[in-house]
Symmetry: C2
Subunit: 238 residues, 2 copies
């Protein structure tokens, strides 16, 4: 029996090179959209609606009862929205049973670019285990899709791709240099993920806003170990 | 005094993200265009004319006295051309004082995409030292541009980018995750570059044509240590 295929895409600008119609696409935006999504869903959010513009976010927030608007542009809370893009902003006593309408610079944009995918789930270190277990169980082709930063390759998203492959690679056929590079990178980083990531563009960018603790939190493996899937344009716990 | 900037671009599909007008662009196609170019120039080729189509290659070859046509598509000698894309095909007693008209799947295509660059040189392990010395001497911004394989990230070109940064990084300002990842990768590979590269898509592809020895040759650092620059659309020794 042939194994399903696993590949990694380092940037939305490379997405056209991959066939996503027959694949589960894992949207990866470690700093911080998919980390925030894992935390909010794990803490009981009813659903998360990812949208690609601030205007749409405000519009939906006004229409949907018991909802919150959240999101960032260039690392800061976007003007007109109520909340930011931090996993720490959404504890259970705040987010439980609410709908979060979310827009971010990279992650939610990539998610909309992947609308043709067979299935979409979101991945971050906070829910690495749940992502891996699900991918193994489904026996389908997988594309690990890094949100990157404005289409530029970034370290943190490819580190997550490497963590996934290191964990479940044996269940897949793989002939993809992006996956190989991500796995080498993760091997170099895994003993001190947070230390390693401090020499990265995104860490340096967000540190200027005092968000070091946020990023340290995003490196906690399985802290919010929930599987998040896009169903009817909404991200929900599976 | 501020240092010039060094960045790495992993794929021609990402080239639009970088400002090449003020940069020296290093075209990197380790397997095998820029390795072949280094060998042919080092062995005395009068000049190399990189062209982007087989038809153009045949046309120029017929016009230019004392010229050879060469090139590959998908790893094999392209139909209608006289020679292939191997650094071993161009010893001194064969190539000296001749003009090589060359077209390849990835390297020569990227070279033409970079026509707006401030300067273009070509890089491979065979001429790593000459590339590094030149970049340090020029004190200009640098873009290490990986030819990749049909726009997909590849290991061998980013390994070369990592080798450059590891060697001369202190002379540049760098805040580029692609460069960081390439450097981590090179550190993992450098003690056995040829062994490391055997688990890569391009190695597996070219091995099917029996080209292992060719690729082993492409991993020899400074074997053809010449600086190759594009001058009036021709690649020449500087």
């Amino acid at each position: 029996m042939s194994l399903p295929k696993l590949e990694t895409c380092f940037s939305p600008s490379l997405l056209h090179l991959y066939d996503i119609k027959d694949s589960i696409v894992v949207i990866i935006d470690v700093f911080r959209a998919t980390s925030t999504i894992a935390a909010a869903v794990h803490n009981g959010a009813a659903e998360i609606i990812p949208v690609d513009s601030v205007a749409k976010c405000i519009e939906l927030g006004a229409q949907i009862p018991n909802s919150l608007t959240a999101g960032e542009r260039d690392g800061k809370v976007a003007e007109g929205l109520q909340h930011g893009n931090s996993p720490l902003e959404y504890p259970r006593d705040f987010i439980e049973n609410k709908t979060l309408v979310l827009t971010t610079t990279n992650g939610t944009r990539l998610l909309h670019m992947c609308s043709d995918a067979n299935e979409i789930i979101t991945g971050s270190f906070l829910n690495l285990g749940a992502v891996c277990d699900y991918l193994v169980s489904q026996k389908k082709n997988v594309l690990l899709a890094c949100a990157s930063w404005k289409d530029r390759y970034n370290l943190e998203d490819s580190l997550f791709a490497g963590a996934v492959y290191e964990s479940i690679g044996k269940h897949f056929e793989m002939n993809c240099d992006s996956t190989r590079a991500a796995t080498h990178l993760y091997k170099a980083a895994k003993n001190d993920l947070y230390g390693f990531i401090q020499d990265s563009s995104h860490f340096l960018r967000l540190s200027k806003f005092g968000l070091q603790y946020d990023m340290e939190y995003c490196c906690k493996i399985n802290e919010h170990n929930v599987l998040v899937k896009l169903v009817d344009d909404k991200l929900v716990a599976l």
